[in-house]
Amino acid sequence: MADHVAAQAGESEHGHPRHELSAYARRVYAIRDILLEKGILTGEEIQAQIEYIEARTPANGARLVARAWVDPEFKKRLLADPKAACSEMGIDATSLNEFVVLENTEKVRHLVVCTLCSCYPRPILGRPPDWYKSFNYRARAVNDPRGVMREFGNDVPDAVEIRVHDSTADMRYLVLPVRPKGTESLSEEELQKLVVRDSLIGVVDPLPAVPEQGV
């Protein structure tokens, strides 16, 4: 959002930032200008879409996971019909193509990648992290998932199976991580804070429970 505000503050006649633009940025602005001039889109529609995208955050995924951890019936519904489960939580997933939740267990870890581009459950989580779109991650997640996860600090034992999902088509994938041990006394809100974005992609597990102080 900060970039967007900064860009607007320095806009010239057609709403272009005054600072130096990359070739890709110039192309995007040129396409936008043509769409506006031809009346295909209005400025208000573009702004509304930017606000829609910016309003999606990984916190939506954390809410789904924490609810699934505390409510086994909700977990069943989340696995069986993820879009309906989102709706139940007040999360608008209507613009999502199709949506599959991958349940991690003590014996299985899932890892999500899009080797062809950067498919990601954006209507729920917002924009993917830059590393998710990098050639390095996209190439290595499929043929060296253990090495990639190790670089994220996640050393998966050989006895645990890794299932990589390459989201090449209409399906979008979200990992349901294993609830960390020692979190039995935490509230749903406290659990949400353990569900970091990267655990929804599967490269890491959720954060561990914070040890109690002074007991």
Binding site: N143, P145, R146, I162, A169, D170, M171
Partner: protein
């Protein structure tokens, strides 16, 4: 996502076609020619190879979740035998194996 009417069923062994055609193809080259199995039939979807070039995406194509053993895909992979790779592949890219 229901009413999958495709020709493959979960458990069927399939080989990914080795076609090399231009356009908005969603079958990664690293699985072409590889043998896997149908894990799940997702249903019928508009064909991206048509949609990506201004077409209407019709006729729809059945989309499958196809599983592969990592060793089958890459030859060398450690630890051998356990890890699997799943790719979403449209029916016209699959042959019975």
């Amino acid at each position: 996502m229901s009413g999958a009417a495709g020709k493959f069923r979960p458990g069927d062994r399939v080989r990914v076609r080795t076609d090399d055609r231009p356009g908005h193809v969603r079958t990664p080259s690293y699985v072409r020619g590889k043998i896997g199995w149908v894990e799940r039939a997702y249903g019928d979807f508009l064909n991206p190879e048509s949609l990506g070039h201004g077409g209407d995406g019709l006729p729809k194509k059945t989309l499958y979740l196809v599983g592969f053993h990592q060793g089958e895909v890459w030859g060398e992979y450690k630890p051998w035998g356990r890890d699997r790779l799943f790719v979403d592949i449209y029916e016209h890219w699959l042959d019975p194996a």
